[in-house]
Each structure stands twice: as structure tokens, then as C-alpha cells.
């Protein structure tokens, strides 16, 4: 964690609303936030609190309706679809709740899908080694357990050496034990590569791993907590 550095993300009063027929749904209301290189951040919130919307905006899948979001000097809130794609391509690693592996491709090929389009990627086998699956590189998703699939997804996300790893409920579909292994893999990436990790979850137990915990409620930041003694994933219980 290096808070002295310039922030990687700088959100200034960002709001997001969606017109739904006659009513407008406010997903985010005036979020101010700075995220730094090497940080491990957990965003907590109940369903509908706006955490997914925030993750989508941070990941360049969406733009705020109001306010500005900068990635270093890059104004993401003002970027078009093409620019956002380039942003994701070069800087963002995504981990999904349901892994989203491509079933027809082996673990190795799933990782290669990303390393082959990135500018300075690691080798696919290196990425798999980082999640401890180098021996299962030729297995298909259907031949892997849920936890293993999620670890392949993590390998795929970090293969490009992203600036930020965004994880959307990474343990949401897993049991406690498997979830812990997946979280351990994420922690290792964070430790070894120094990547900014942002996890969104409704699982408060995960928060004890983080350097900072951001509590979202009703589209606003309800609380930001510093955690001076992050816990290892293996010690987590939920």
C-alpha cells in the first residue's frame, strides 16, 4: 500500500441513474473516492446498495451520469466506448461471480485469450502457476471444481499484468473452504504483483483481509474504514 503515491482512481462526486419508464433509479449518489496502487480494498454493501454499479464504472463498463472519474490522468467519465475498451484491455483484470470461463477452451487457452491481446503479459503458464493450477492447464472448465474454475478466472484476469484487479463477489458461488482458497490466491497476487485489488461483496467476513473497507448504502458511501492488521484468507470464517 502506498498512499503517498498519486491515486490510481480518483472519483469526484460521481452519480449514476437509470431511467426506468416513468421513474428514475438512482444507483450511485455523489461518490467521492480515491484508490491507490497496491491497495487491497473491499467494498461492502447489501443488495441494491450500488456496489455493482460502482465496480462497473471503475472497470470501464459504464460511465457515470454525473461527476468525474480519473484513472491516473485519463478521464474515464468522458471516454467513449472505444476508449473504455482500450482501458479494460490494458489496465483492468476482471473476476466474475460465476467465473465466465469459456467451456470449449482449456484452462490454458482461457488464459491465453487474454495474454494474447495484452501489451506486456506474463506467460499463461506463469499466470496459472500464480494460482497454483499449472498442473491442470490442459483441463476443461467442466473437469475443474468451482474453486479451481475461479482460480483459472483469476489467472486469466492477472495474465495481462493489470493495474487493477476487480472482483465481483468472487466467492459468491463457493463454499467457505473453497472460497478461502480463492481469496488466498487473490491475496497472493496482491502481495506478489502489488496490484490494486478491489473486491465487492456482501460478505462482511472478507473485509478483514482488506487495507480499506468501504461500506456502501443506498448509493452513498456510508463509511470508510482503515484496517491496520489485515488477516490472511485462511483465517476467515463465514
Amino acid at each position: 500500500m502506498s498512499r503517498e503515491n498519486h491515486p490510481l482512481f480518483r472519483a469526484n462526486q460521481i452519480s449514476k441513474w437509470y431511467p426506468m419508464g416513468d421513474v428514475t433509479v438512482h444507483a450511485l449518489r455523489g461518490i467521492d473516492l480515491e484508490l491507490y496502487p497496491g491497495e487491497f480494498v473491499v467494498i461492502l454493501g447489501a443488495s441494491g446498495s450500488g456496489k455493482s454499479t460502482l465496480l462497473n464504472i471503475l472497470g470501464g463498463l459504464d460511465v457515470p451520469s454525473e461527476g468525474t472519474l480519473h484513472f491516473m490522468d485519463w478521464n474515464l467519465s468522458d471516454s467513449n466506448e472505444i476508449a473504455l475498451t482500450e482501458f479494460r484491455r490494458q489496465h483492468v483484470g476482471f473476476v466474475f461471480q460465476f467465473y465466465n470461463l469459456i467451456s470449449g477452451l482449456t484452462a490454458l487457452d482461457n488464459v491465453r485469450l487474454v495474454t494474447e491481446i495484452a501489451q506486456s503479459p506474463m506467460t499463461p503458464i506463469e499466470a496459472l502457476r500464480l494460482v497454483g493450477l499449472e498442473n491442470r492447464s490442459l483441463h476443461y472448465p467442466a473437469q475443474l471444481s468451482g474453486g479451481e474454475q475461479q482460480r483459472v478466472a483469476i489467472a486469466r484476469a492477472i495474465g495481462k499484468r493489470p493495474s487493477v484487479l476487480l472482483c465481483d463477489e468472487p466467492t459468491g458461488a463457493l463454499d467457505v473452504k473453497t472460497g478461502a482458497i480463492v481469496l488466498e490466491a487473490i491475496a497472493r497476487i496482491h502481495r506478489d504483483l502489488g496490484t490494486l485489488v478491489v473486491i465487492i461483496t456482501h460478505n462482511a467476513a472478507i473485509a478483514s483481509m482488506a487495507d480499506r473497507i468501504i461500506q456502501l448504502s443506498d448509493g452513498r458511501i456510508a463509511e470508510i474504514r482503515e484496517n491496520n492488521s489485515p488477516q490472511p484468507a485462511s483465517s476467515l470464517q463465514w
Binding site: 482500450e86 477452451l105 482449456t106 495484452a118 476443461y140 467442466a142 468451482g146 484476469a157
Partner: protein, 811 residues
């Protein structure tokens, strides 16, 4: 109240509307081509049969030089003959006031109504005309009336000829009757059952501008050719056709002393044979085109259906867990298909009936009947519905079997293991050096294609069939072009072929060569003969040509020339060789059917393959020797100086011995015009149909890929793949299917085309299968257009990919 299951069904129908439209459209194409062909066949057959029976179409005809009326009585007395009529049939050159070129007409004598010429009531006259009948091959009057007794210069003209020249009742034209120019007034426009299709002797197709029929009072033709109390053309009606061979030989014997050249049966009658050939062509199309469409529809239903059931596995399993029977669920599924099928059959039937009407209109350029019956209600409806049901069942079958196999407790897989072939490909690409060359997207496309090889093959086959249909609907033009080019540009080098009224001496040839503007004249001798080899017999005209003949060359399909001077024997076409079952070197008996009816035998020196029917050629001098005659000609070929064209035209019209003229350039131009008009429209309809097949299959395949891969594609987008990279995955598959279908579809199309050509192989012509780059270029352009359209649709679909929403749900 609507049941929940029915509501589900409706929502499925709505959700699958794109696939539904494709299935309905393809089925409609298949059913409509079927209805179009069968309805047209039925209507043409009914129109023809009605015409034949009401206007007493004869069974047997015979040409001769001249026979007395008394002989007709003798023929009528033959057992098995119900009617016989003796006519005078001649050929003559016509002179139209506004048309410089000479036009040839067949003149047919008719008996005229004998009533008082002082009668003034026109209605009454018309009625009387209609009550007056020719004994056989009776005239149907479309307009006007029959010539009256005593009004020798009146005539009825054939309908298509009148139309080509915009002739009206009351118009006058000049005809060279037996060497004398005579003004003929048109009093009627009509047709007869022996001239539904009119074609000038020696030509492949009808040319209604340069050749027509005039029905002229018998007395007029008698006077012009000194035929009082005589006739030269016989038509006979039989009581029972099973006696035809016996009766034909009796007639031939009776006519032989009068210059009879042998009787012909309906089967060989030009007009009848042409209509029959056309109906056969329609029958071939009635099987081939619907078969293509319906098989593609089966594929498509299969594709859409299997995919839909895969998606609905959980729902079906849940319903089964609730206690629904498999039969109930199957019935639901069948209802969805039956909605499409019903819509396709209905739409196809309506389209087919409309197309049949248009086709009938198109046929009017070639065939004329007094009336065309539209018979839309027949067995073809039952056929259409049954075919629809069969298509639905075949297409849905494998899907339905899948339903039966779905267990009520369906395991919740996170994804199926890829097929063996996919895994093989994966290990191959990883181990081989190729892996570096294959981009991940390309590998994805390959994997996707191989993960469902059955679907991929069906898509390729479906598009191939569309391409085949394009070839099938457009190859004919190149074939006709080749035949026309071979006949009119390679073989024939004359401007005119003139037929003499009888074999003329050298002085006639000399006279023609003296006409101003004539550059080269070559004589030919044509004589009716009967060839016999073992038990095979064939009647035709033996053509004697000069050894150095430049204006008519005997060329085979490869334009290799055969010369008559290298041989004393026969040069025959392969079609004749086939019919007589002779080979080079065999000797054939030749019975001359004219003059002294000589008999001799000749060796077959050459057999050559060309596009005409049976034909035989010999050196002219050798022929003269065999006939023991001097230098004589049945006609001449000539080239003219274009500057003197009109002078030559006038000479032809005025000549006392020229009775027929064939203008090579004009005939060729008329053929092209007629073919262009008739094939263009069908080609357009077929191009749309074929494009629909390709769109239906390729687009559906892309739709399936998209629905199966939406989640993967969205994932790729999130991972940083650009829009065009993701679109490329979809398009690559589409393009690969199309590219793979081309080398299958084109040969397949030509195979169908060969089948069609073989079905059309008739006595009068043999058509070549021409693989023309233009046909392929045209096919590929339509393919490219359809593919571009399909790519556009897929691109639109890909832009609608909602990244975030796709990712939120579990697959």
C-alpha cells in the same frame, strides 16, 4: 382462460420470431415452387387436352407430293380410322408493306363456310363461322371470321405471328403464291391444335416474327399450285391408338406412289413434342426445386429446434418433475412447429398460385391455347400440407427424442465437456507449431465449429443447397448461349438460307448468284430418306453439301470441322448414331422417300457430336450420283453485301421458286430477345429464393452461435476485446460456412443441372452442360450479396450485446 403452458408456448413463439420467419419463408418457397409447377402443369395439360379433344387434334400426319381426292376416300375406308382430311400445305415468302425483310409462312388450306355472301348480319356470320369446322386440327378463331367462299384472297393468320407484327383484322399483306404476288386480306386471327408451338423447320426455337401460319381457302392454293382435286398433306384421326403402327404402314403404302415421305405420329409432331418437353421440364423443376427448399427447411427446423430444446432442458425437466407426461410436453413442442408449418404452407400456397398465374402469362410467349384453365384446387393442396407435416416431423424428430431423454432430475452442470473432436483440436493446436499462428479468436471459431460438427455440417450443406439452386436457375443461359453460338456463329456463316419450292437445276443457283448484292452462293440438296440399320429405322432429311462448303460447316462440340469431300459415305450426328445404334464403318440402308424412291446402302464414315438432333450429311455430288440426277439444289446459302440488303430482300420476295427464307442474324436476335424476356424473370425469382435459403441458414447459424455464446462474447468484451474483434468471431464463422459451401454448392448445382439437361435431352436437340464463368460469377455475386446482408444483420445483433446484463446471470 389461457393455460400457463399455452402462454409459455406463445412466449417461445415470440422469442423465436427471427428463426420462425426464416423457417416460414423457406417452407413457403418450397411449397410455392411446388404449387407453381404442379398447378401450371395441371393447367397446361387441361388446356391442351381440352383443346385437342374439342378441336379434333389428329393422331397421324403425312406429307406427300400430290394425291387425288379419291385416295382420301380409300384412306377413310381403312379400318380403325375415324376421320381423314387432305389439305394443301405449302411454304411461301410474305411481303409486309412496312417490313423490308422477307418473312416465311406455312400456308394451310382450309375449307370455307358456304353461305350467301349477301348476308349482312355480322353477328350471324360470326356464329356461322364458329359453327363451321375443319375436319381435323380445327381452327379456333380468336378474332374475326373465316374466309368466305369465293373470297379467295382472304386468310386467317396465326395468333403469335399476328401479335409479333401487330396485325389487325382488315390488314393486307403480299404473299408469293406459286410465283405470283398476291394481296391477302386478314379476316381472322386464330390457332389450331397442331400449331400450339410454331417452329420453322430447321430451327431450335420458335421465331414468331419471321415465321407464321396462314390459313387460306383451299381454292386459292389449288389455283396457285395447280392442285385442283388434289392434296399434299394428310391428317388422320384414329379410333384406337393401339393400332397406330399397322395403320401408319398402311397409309405409308397408300401414299408411296404419290410421293409420300412417311407418316408421323403425335409423339413426333413438332408442336405436341415441344409442349410435352416443356411439361417434362416443369415436372423436373416440380421435384428438384421444392426438394432443395424442403430439405433446407428440415435442416433449419432441426437446427433451431435442437438449440431451443437445449436451452429449455431445465424447464422441461421441471415440468416432468411436476408430473407432466412426455407426450404432453412433446405435444406443446409440436404446436410451436405446427404454427410455423401452417404459416409456411399457407403463405407458400398463396405465393405458388400467384407464381403459377405469372408463369402461365410467361408461357403465352411460346404456347397458345384457346383458353388457359386455372385449376388451383387439386391434389397439390393435399401434397403441400402433407409435405409440410413431413418436413416438420423430420426437422423436429431429433429434438423430440431429446425431450424423451431428459431426466426429471436434471443435473445442474456448470458446462458440458467438449466433444472428443474439440479436445483433439485443442491438444493439436497446443502441441503443433500452428498454435502460434492461430489467434485466440480463430481458435474460438474453430472450436465452436467443431464442438457441434453436426450443426456446422448442416449449415454448410444448407448454404451449399442455396448455391446449387442459384447455379440450377442460371446455368441454362450459358447452355443456350453455347448452342446459339455454335449454330449461328460457328457452323453457319450465311446471311440467308433460301429453300426452293422443288429441286431446281443449276440455272436457279446461277440466277440467285446474279442478284445485285449477293456475294457468295452455295447450293445444298436435301432429300427425305429413311435410314435402316438392323431393326432401327429413322426418317430424316439427308443433306448434300459442297465439299468446300464455307457457309455451312459441320462442326462438332469442340468446333472441329468435318468435311464431306474426304468421304463418299455419310457423316452423321451422334444422336442419329445412337438412335440407329451404328458406329463408324457400319453400312446403313437408305430408302429415298421422294421421286423414284431409290434404295442404296452407305457407309458411316464419321460420327460427330453436336447439339442438334439426328442429322446426316453427304457430299452433294455423291448424292446426285446416288439419285441419278444432274446438278440440282433444294436451296442455297448465301452471303450478301449489307449495302444491297433491301435489293436482295426484294429479289427473294419476287422470286418464283423461293418458298422459304431464314435470316440468320434476325433469327438469332429474336431468339435472344425471347429468351432474355422469359428467363430474366424466373432468374430473379430464383435469386431471391436462393438468397433466402442462404440468409435463412447462415443467419440462423449466427443467431444460434450468438445465443450460445452471448455470455462468452460479453466476457471477452469485459476482458478488453474490441467490438470488431468480437464481431469478427461471429462473422468468421459465417464467412467460413459460406466459403466452405461454395466448393460444395457449385458442383452440386451442376450435378442438378446435369440431371435437368438429361431430362431435357430430346429427339430434336441435345443440350450441353456448359460450366460458364459468368454463371459462377453471377452465383458468387448473389452469394456475396446475401452474405453481406447476413453480416449486416449479425453486426446489428452484436452491437445489441449488453455486456453487463449478460454477466450478471448464471448460465
Amino acid at each position: 382462460m389461457m393455460s400457463a403452458r399455452l402462454r409459455l408456448l406463445l412466449s417461445d413463439l415470440i422469442r423465436l420470431w427471427k428463426q420462425g420467419i426464416a423457417i416460414v419463408a423457406l417452407l413457403a418457397c418450397g411449397i410455392s415452387t411446388l404449387i407453381m409447377s404442379t398447378t401450371t402443369i395441371r393447367s397446361l395439360e387441361a388446356s391442351r387436352d381440352h383443346y385437342y379433344s374439342h378441336y379434333r387434334f389428329a393422331h397421324i400426319w403425312a406429307s406427300l407430293v400430290r394425291a387425288p381426292d379419291a385416295l382420301l376416300e380409300q384412306i377413310r375406308d381403312l379400318p380403325g380410322i375415324t376421320r381423314a382430311s387432305g389439305r394443301i400445305v405449302r411454304q411461301a415468302i410474305l411481303d409486309f408493306p412496312n417490313s423490308p425483310e422477307p418473312i416465311t409462312a406455312r400456308l394451310v388450306s382450309i375449307d370455307t363456310p358456304r353461305f350467301s355472301p349477301t348476308s349482312h348480319s355480322s353477328d350471324q356470320e360470326k356464329n356461322k363461322d364458329h359453327e363451321f369446322h375443319q375436319e381435323l386440327d380445327d381452327l379456333y378463331l380468336r378474332q374475326g371470321r373465316l374466309p368466305r367462299v369465293g373470297s379467295l384472297t382472304e386468310a386467317v393468320v396465326s395468333e403469335l405471328f399476328a401479335q409479333a407484327h401487330q396485325l389487325q383484322i382488315g390488314d393486307t399483306l403480299l404473299a408469293n403464291l406459286g410465283g405470283k404476288q398476291q394481296a391477302i386480306e386478314i379476316v381472322g386471327i386464330g390457332l389450331s391444335p397442331d400449331s400450339i408451338y410454331v417452329v420453322q423447320p430447321g430451327l431450335l426455337l420458335s421465331d414468331n416474327r419471321l415465321y407464321g401460319i396462314l390459313w387460306i381457302p383451299r381454292e386459292n392454293l389449288e389455283a396457285a399450285w395447280n392442285m385442283e382435286g388434289a392434296w399434299n398433306h394428310l391428317a388422320v384421326e384414329l379410333e384406337n391408338e393401339s393400332d397406330r403402327y399397322k395403320i401408319q404402314s398402311q397409309i405409308d403404302q397408300l401414299l408411296a406412289p404419290y410421293g409420300g415421305t412417311g407418316s408421323i405420329h403425335r409423339d413426333d409432331q413438332e408442336s405436341h413434342a415441344r409442349v410435352r418437353d416443356e411439361l417434362n421440364e416443369l415436372r423436373t423443376m416440380a421435384i428438384l426445386a421444392p426438394a432443395i427448399f424442403l430439405s433446407v427447411t428440415v435442416f433449419l427446423i432441426h437446427m433451431v429446434f435442437s438449440r431451443w430444446i437445449m436451452q429449455q432442458r431445465e424447464r422441461i425437466a421441471t415440468l416432468r418433475a411436476f408430473g407432466y407426461r412426455t407426450s404432453e410436453i412433446t405435444w406443446d413442442v409440436l404446436q410451436v412447429v405446427s404454427v410455423w408449418i401452417a404459416a409456411g404452407v399457407l403463405l407458400g400456397t398463396l405465393m405458388g398460385l400467384q407464381l403459377a398465374r405469372w408463369l402461365s402469362e410467361l408461357y403465352k410467349a411460346f404456347f397458345r391455347f384457346p383458353e388457359v384453365f386455372h385449376l388451383p384446387f387439386g391434389w397439390q393442396w393435399i401434397l403441400a400440407v402433407s409435405l409440410g407435416a413431413i418436413v416438420a416431423t423430420l426437422g423436429a424428430w431429433s429434438g423430440l427424442r431429446q425431450i424423451m431423454k431428459i431426466p426429471p432430475a436434471l443435473a445442474m452442470h456448470s458446462g458440458a465437456l467438449p466433444s472428443t473432436s474439440t479436445r483433439w483440436l485443442a491438444s493439436w493446436t497446443q502441441s503443433s507449431k500452428l498454435s502460434a499462428a492461430l489467434s485466440p479468436t480463430l481458435r474460438l471459431v474453430l472450436l465452436r465449429a467443431l464442438s457441434n460438427p453436426w450443426l456446422t455440417s448442416l449449415s454448410i450443406l444448407g448454404v451449399s443447397l442455396g448455391i446449387a439452386l442459384l447455379i440450377l436457375s442460371s446455368f441454362f443461359e450459358a447452355t443456350i448461349d453455347r448452342v446459339l453460338d455454335h449454330q449461328f456463329s460457328q457452323s453457319q456463316h450465311f446471311d440467308f438460307q433460301l429453300a426452293f419450292d422443288e429441286a431446281r437445276s443449276i440455272s436457279a443457283i446461277h440466277e440467285v448468284s446474279q442478284w445485285t448484292g449477293v456475294q457468295r452462293v452455295e447450293a445444298f440438296r436435301s432429300i427425305p430418306v429413311e435410314f435402316q440399320y438392323r431393326t432401327s429405322r429413322e426418317r430424316l432429311a439427308l443433306l448434300g453439301l459442297d465439299p468446300d462448303s464455307q457457309l455451312l460447316k459441320l462442326l462438332d462440340q469442340n468446333n472441329v470441322a468435318y468435311l464431306t469431300n474426304t468421304t463418299n459415305g455419310l457423316i452423321i450426328t451422334s444422336k442419329l448414331a445412337e438412335k440407329l445404334d451404328v458406329r463408324r464403318g457400319d453400312r446403313i440402308d437408305v430408302q429415298v422417300l421422294e421421286g423414284e424412291q431409290r434404295r442404296f446402302s452407305l457407309a458411316v464414315d464419321q460420327v460427330f457430336e453436336n447439339y442438334t438432333g439426328p442429322a446426316a450429311f453427304i457430299d452433294r455430288v455423291s448424292l446426285h450420283k446416288l439419285l441419278r440426277e444432274g446438278d440440282r439444289a433444294s436451296g442455297v446459302h448465301l452471303t450478301i453485301d449489307p449495302h444491297y440488303q433491301n435489293q436482295v430482300y426484294q429479289k427473294i420476295k419476287d422470286s418464283p421458286f423461293v418458298c422459304g427464307a431464314l435470316n440468320r442474324q434476325a433469327t438469332l436476335a429474336n431468339f435472344r430477345d425471347l429468351l432474355g424476356k422469359s428467363t430474366g424473370w424466373m432468374r430473379f425469382v430464383n435469386a431471391i429464393f436462393a438468397a433466402l435459403i442462404m440468409l435463412g441458414v447462415a443467419y440462423n447459424s449466427a443467431l444460434i452461435t450468438f445465443s450460445e455464446r452471448a455470455r462468452d462474447l460479453a466476457t471477452l468484451r469485459v476482458l478488453g476485446y474490441r467490438k470488431n474483434e468480437v464481431l469478427w468471431i461471429l462473422l468468421l464463422e459465417l464467412l467460413a460456412i459460406t466459403l466452405l459451401a461454395i466448393p460444395i454448392g457449385i458442383p452440386l448445382g451442376y450435378t442438378f443441372a446435369y440431371g435437368m439437361i438429361s431430362a431435357l435431352d430430346s429427339d430434336s436437340h441435345r443440350l450441353p452442360l456448359v460450366i460458364d464463368p459468368r454463371t459462377i460469377a453471377y452465383t458468387l455475386s448473389v452469394v456475396a450479396l446475401a452474405t453481406a446482408l447476413c453480416c449486416g444483420l449479425v453486426a446489428r445483433m452484436a452491437t445489441q450485446l449488453n455486456i453487463v446484463s449478460v454477466l450478471k446471470v448464471r448460465e
